[in-house]
Every structure is written in C-alpha cells, then in structure tokens.
C-alpha cells in the first residue's frame, strides 16, 4: 500500500509534513519516528508519572514517562532511557505491551507500550528543553488519577495496566 505521489512540504526536527496523492484524493500526512510510553511500578506497586508543560497544547499535563525514538534505536532501549532520563527510575522487570497509532487519520506516529515492574529510584538527567516533576502514585490512587489524565497514551497505558491486574 503506497501513495501515487508523496512530497515533503516541510521537514522539521521532530515531524515532517507530507502531502500525498492516493488515487483521486490528497492526504496530509505527519511523519514521525515513533515513540514509547512506560507504565513503571516500584516495589510497593506505586506508579511513576510525570507532570510537565506541553507547549503544543498550552497546558501542564500529567503523563506516563515517554519519549521519541532516536534514529536506529530499539523501542525497549528507548523506553529504559526515557524512564531513566525523565524520572531517574531504572532496573526492574520489563515486558512489551501493545503498540498503537496515536492519530492514524493523519499521523504516522506508532507508540510502543512497555510495562516495568519493580523499578528503583535514581537520578534523573533531563534534556535542556525539559522541565519535569516526578509524581509517584500509590496503587490505591490510580483510579482517581485516571480522571485527571488528558493524554491518550497515558489513558491507554493506565487502563491496560488496571485491566491486566483485575
């Protein structure tokens, strides 16, 4: 499955915008390298979340730790790196969850979900343009926190986690 024509109209640092011709219609397509999201729990079953300003939506959001794949990077390696950089947490037992497209109507971003149990605290190492507050959520508070979540990957990740444990 491929377009009759695909042209780059803007090549950015993170996203590239394409205009594609498929038969008799045109599609605007946002290309993206893909990303990871991590549902990490510590030895007490508390979950590790992050609160950060999301300039794109002019809001501070509560999210699961996540990040964009670097060129050639394996999703699991990216997930371990992002969890460590954003929160300091590391170690634990990891396994891959499902993958999903965040906005398949117009965007190629594929999100890889990982679950990490028994992670342990350490020192974060934020990038220059990141400012992140780590929020540790006790197991019993996850339902309440869910009602505050306004991010697709976080909603899906937390609901998958709760469903598995039910």
């Amino acid at each position: 499955m491929k377009p009759d024509e695909s042209r780059v109209v803007y090549e950015g640092r993170v996203v590239t915008l394409l205009v594609e011709r498929w038969g008799d219609h045109e599609r605007e397509v946002v290309d993206h390298p893909g990303a990871v999201v991590v549902v990490a729990s510590d030895g007490d079953g508390s979950l590790v979340l992050v609160r950060q300003i999301r300039e794109a939506v002019r809001r501070e959001l509560l999210e699961l730790p996540a990040g964009t794949l670097k060129p050639g990077e394996e999703p699991l390696a990216c997930a371990r790196r992002e969890l460590r950089e954003e929160t300091g947490y590391g170690g634990g037992r990891w396994r891959a969850g499902p993958r999903f497209y965040t906005a398949p109507g117009f965007c190629r971003e594929l999100m890889h979900v990982f679950f990490a149990d028994g992670v342990e605290p350490g020192e974060a190492a934020l990038e220059d343009d990141e400012s992140i507050e780590v929020v540790v959520v006790p197991a019993g508070d996850v339902d309440a926190v869910l009602r505050e979540v306004e991010d697709a990957k976080t909603l899906a990740g937390l609901l998958l986690y709760l469903q598995e444990r039910a």
Copy 2:
C-alpha cells in the same frame, strides 16, 4: 501560556504546521481542529466499530467511529453526525466521556469521547474519500477485539467502556 513567536510554515486542509519559539527553544506544533470518537452500543449491547484503510499509516485499521470537528461544530453534534455518516446508526442515549490529547508532545488535536447506548441501524452516508466497513462486535467479543486494536482513541474508548461496566 503562549509562545514568544509562532509562525505558520504550512497551512493544509486538515492540519497546519507551526514553528513556535518558547524561551530559548523551538517547538514544531501540528495544529488541528479537534475530533470526536463514539463508543456506541445497540440494544443487545453489541458495539459498532469500523474497518477502514488509513493511508497515513499504510494499514487497514479497526477503530471506533470518529471524525474531525467542522468549523464551529459542537462535539456532540459532530459525534452524532459521524456515527450516522460512517455506520448509519443513530438515536440512543448519549453522554459525554473524557477528553484527551492524542499526541500532546507536538499536536494540538483534542479528542472528545462520547458514549451512546441503544443506537439503531440506518443508512450510512460516506464522504467521497471514505470507504468503511461496519463491524458489529457482540458484547462478549470486546475483550478479544481489544487485542486487535492499534489505534489510541479506540483502545482508550473501549477500555473506558469496559471499566465502567466492570
């Protein structure tokens, strides 16, 4: 909260790409009018899904009915319209669920979730560039179908639906 500078680098039919300066860093931002997704169940508790080709990701995907807000359109009106156009189903009792950003790291799309119970079949009215197969999923098969889902809004919508009924 607003950028020091925001310039349009491409204005498309559905998405607009902005490059914004926030303090000492730049952000690529995909602007988008927002969208709706509908978890609709019929009198038997079966759910109404759609299978369609998503050119952006070069795949056929199984999704909940959904669509983009038209200028000035209320989310509920959009949700009723999209369900009717894509699947023919209408009527029923509607209520608003949560809202979430699909990819808040770089995209302004806000997704409004609606639940519709007791919808009834009718005639679909697809747009020229749409080709959609309606898939009615019996209540008992939702768990199995979840494992096939590779779309964030559908995963979140179905998991929210299952969680409410648990």
